[in-house]
């Protein structure tokens, strides 16, 4: 059995087509996703912009203006890099020279935010600049609104300032949205694509098991017949083929994962060992399904590989691999027909990685892994039944 196992591994590793579909293709696709989403992600990120602060007497007269600048500069996600200038002329000079994209100044008792023409043009085409400038602009507007409100209250109902709850609410941000996080890690669209891709990559490795099982069948090839003449039970040859397919599948998928994780930076929240454990479970399921397809009687290896490829592509659709509409379709099936989503192996394999990344508890991961294990048992049982019933009448 050991020599069959080793020979089977050598055979698989020397089949360029199989290795391409099981390893190279997912990596190529992952690279394409990475390139695609890298541009999208950078265009929606926040980049601190160089802003001049006109630090004149009027500025010093604005209560809290300097605090606002410091807050915008020192926040977790800084939106500006402040440079103090003595007057508006100096700020305009910086704008002309490109040293700053805008400036903040006190004007008529309010905070004014001025941006250069070139910055306004850039903001239209560069999402990061546009978003950052709009955040600064919103902050300035909010500052002015609060200042005006405070001034009005001071003019018409100054006694309100004696009420602590009023003064507390004056500067509060209760009307604004607050970011909260339900998951362990913030959801990220590219991650969903890459995990769906891992699901597809896993199912692609089915071809290895299909080849191994088909080559052991006497009714499909002379090679299979020759092997069946050997003085050892057929299950040993089949088991060796299955284990070899599983090992090679797990290695291929692990390599795909390593590329996605360490080259493209898609994390699993520091739970890499669980990711590899998940790969072991997932590829066991894929090899089991491959064995089932490989055991189909009266069909050559070519048609069987065709069936597996078609099945993988179709199931990947419901796992959301092909874009936003596919993701919405997958989500709709998950909501309306959860059982159908549960029996989609591609979705379950990608779900394994979502479970690892997003949930604090490992319980969802264990549940998905158990589901995949049950699928494996069912596939193997059907394959064993088919192989057991097969006679050699087709020679």
């Amino acid at each position: 059995m050991l020599t069959t196992f080793i020979a089977q591994i050598k055979t698989m590793l020397h089949r360029p087509a199989m290795i391409f579909w099981a390893l190279a293709f997912p990596i190529i696709l992952a690279t394409m996703f990475h390139a695609m989403f890298q541009n999208i992600a950078s265009s929606y990120s926040i980049e601190a912009q160089p802003i001049d602060i006109v630090r004149d007497d009027a500025w010093d007269g604005l209560t809290g203006a300097q605090d606002l600048v410091e807050a915008l500069q020192d926040a977790d996600t800084a939106v500006l890099k402040a440079t103090q200038v003595p007057d508006a002329d100096a700020a305009l000079a910086d704008l002309r020279e490109g040293r700053a994209v805008g400036y903040l100044a006190a004007r008529d008792g309010e905070l004014a935010f001025v941006i250069s023409d070139s910055a306004a043009t850039t903001a239209e085409s560069d999402g990061a600049v546009g978003i950052t400038l709009s955040i600064i602009s919103d902050a300035v507007a909010r500052y002015n609104d609060t200042a005006q409100l405070g001034e009005a209250v001071g003019r018409y109902a100054p006694e309100a300032f004696l009420d602590d709850s009023f003064t507390g609410q004056l500067g509060a941000t209760a009307g604004l949205s607050e970011e909260i996080r339900l998951t362990r890690t913030a959801p990220d669209e590219p991650v969903r694509y890459q995990f769906a891709l891992l699901g597809m990559a896993c199912l692609m490795t089915m071809t290895l098991a299909i080849g191994a099982i088909s080559e052991s069948q006497p009714n499909l090839s002379t090679l299979g017949a020759r092997r069946c003449l050997a003085p050892l039970p057929k299950w040993r040859i089949l088991t060796a083929g299955f284990l070899a397919a599983w090992l090679v599948s797990a290695c291929c998928m692990s390599l795909s994962f390593v590329v996605i994780r360490y080259v493209f930076g898609v994390g699993v929240a520091g739970r890499e060992p669980f990711a590899f454990l998940g790969i072991g479970v997932a590829t066991f399921m894929a090899s089991s399904l491959g064995s089932l397809i490989g055991a189909l009687p009266k069909l050559g290896v070519g048609p069987k590989v065709g069936i597996s490829t078609g099945m993988t592509c179709l199931l990947s659709l419901f796992a959301g691999l092909y874009g936003q509409p596919a993701m919405q379709l997958g989500d709709m099936i998950q909501r309306e027909l959860p059982l159908l989503a549960d029996i989609n192996p591609v979705r379950q394999v990608s779900q394994l990685f979502h479970d690892i990344l997003y949930y604090d508890s490992l319980q969802p991961f264990v549940r998905t892994a158990a589901l995949l294990a049950v699928m494996s048992i069912v596939f193997l049982a059907i394959a064993a039944l088919m192989l057991r019933r097969q006679r050699y009448e087709h020679l």
Binding site: T3, A7, L13, H14, T222, L223, L229, L232, Y392, L395
Partner: protein, 316 residues
């Protein structure tokens, strides 16, 4: 007291049906230990079915199959260990080297690596593939591939080997090497069951020959014994350009002549066994004034035996 040696293969009353098609019709066969046994038959005659039944690759409807005196079943592992098969198609892994292939197929019979290694070396040397150990099959010529196919079937030193048309599509040198190798195996005591469509090969190497058709045993014996079983005793060929239809009729009417044909250049006459066939035919030609260019007479070949027993109608 003498101990009778069981036949290497014994088949009695074997019946195999594929639906309505009767592939083996109470087929009988006995192969003695240590002989090269030729199994001949046209395409679709049941040769492959018979071999697959013997090897327990196929189930059958009636009859008994024994190998070395024991019943052969799919789980007769002790018997299977003594059997080697060289299929007609090259059945090897194209991703493994010559040495890895032979080692792999040998390992199915001989698990222990230390025992196996000299066997693999011997098989490689036996088929002359020493210089190609590290080659993958895709890099080998047709003849070398056939030799690799043979090495994979014999490396575990079986007592009984089935060769299914091992010389198809190989050049004369490789064919000769393969045939000599098979005779060497026989000389070492191995029993060989050999199927081929090349009659001269079968005649050259087989100790006994069985001709079968329509799933039935037609004739069995040595090549000489088979030749004696047919009507044809002699084939006479006369080169002549002026044979008239009347003379052809006279030749055909001779008692010893089974069949006479003329294609405008050559007169072919198939005769029964007889002492005076040539004299009688020459007499007719001389009397009719036919000019004779060249004349040959030869005894019947195995091909004549085969065609007479199985007919000349085309098969699949």
């Amino acid at each position: 007291m003498t101990t009778s040696v069981p036949p290497a293969v014994s088949v009695h009353g074997l019946v195999k049906r594929y639906g309505d098609v009767l592939a083996l019709d109470y087929f009988d066969l006995d192969v003695r230990q240590g002989e090269i046994f030729g199994l001949l038959g046209p395409n679709g005659s049941g040769k492959t079915t018979a071999i697959n039944c013997i090897l327990a690759l196929l189930t059958y409807d009636a009859g008994q199959v024994g190998v070395f005196g024991s019943p052969m079943t799919p789980t007769s592992y002790a018997l299977k260990r003594r059997i080697g098969v060289v299929p007609q198609e090259v059945a090897v892994f194209y991703e493994l080297t010559v040495e890895e292939n032979i080692d792999y197929f040998c390992s199915l019979y001989v698990p222990d690596r230390r025992t196996r290694t000299p066997m693999v070396d011997e098989a490689i040397a036996f088929v002359g593939l020493d210089d190609y150990r590290r080659f993958r099959p895709g890099k080998l010529s047709g003849g070398l591939l056939r030799r690799l196919n043979i090495a994979c079937g014999i490396a575990h030193r079986p007592d009984l080997i089935f060769f299914d048309e091992p010389t198809v599509a190989v050049d004369p040198q490789s064919r000769n090497a393969i045939l000599e190798g098979i005779m060497t195996l026989r000389d070492r005591g191995t029993t060989v069951v050999y199927t081929s469509h090349y009659m001269e090969e079968v005649e050259q190497i087989c100790d006994r020959i069985l001709i079968m058709d329509h799933g039935r045993h037609l004739a069995l014996g040595t090549a000489e014994e088979l030749k004696l079983m047919i009507d044809t005793g002699e084939r006479i060929t006369v080169q002549t350009l002026d044979l008239t239809p009347a003379t052809l009729e006279q030749v055909d009417a001779l008692p010893a002549v089974i069949e006479a044909t003329y294609d405008g250049q050559q007169l072919d006459i198939r005769c029964r066994r007889g002492e005076t066939n040539l004299i009688d035919i020459l007499g007719v030609l001389e009397r009719s004034g036919t000019n004779i260019g060249h004349l040959t007479s030869r005894p019947p070949s195995l091909n004549d035996v085969f065609l007479e027993l199985t007919g000349t109608a085309l098969r699949d």
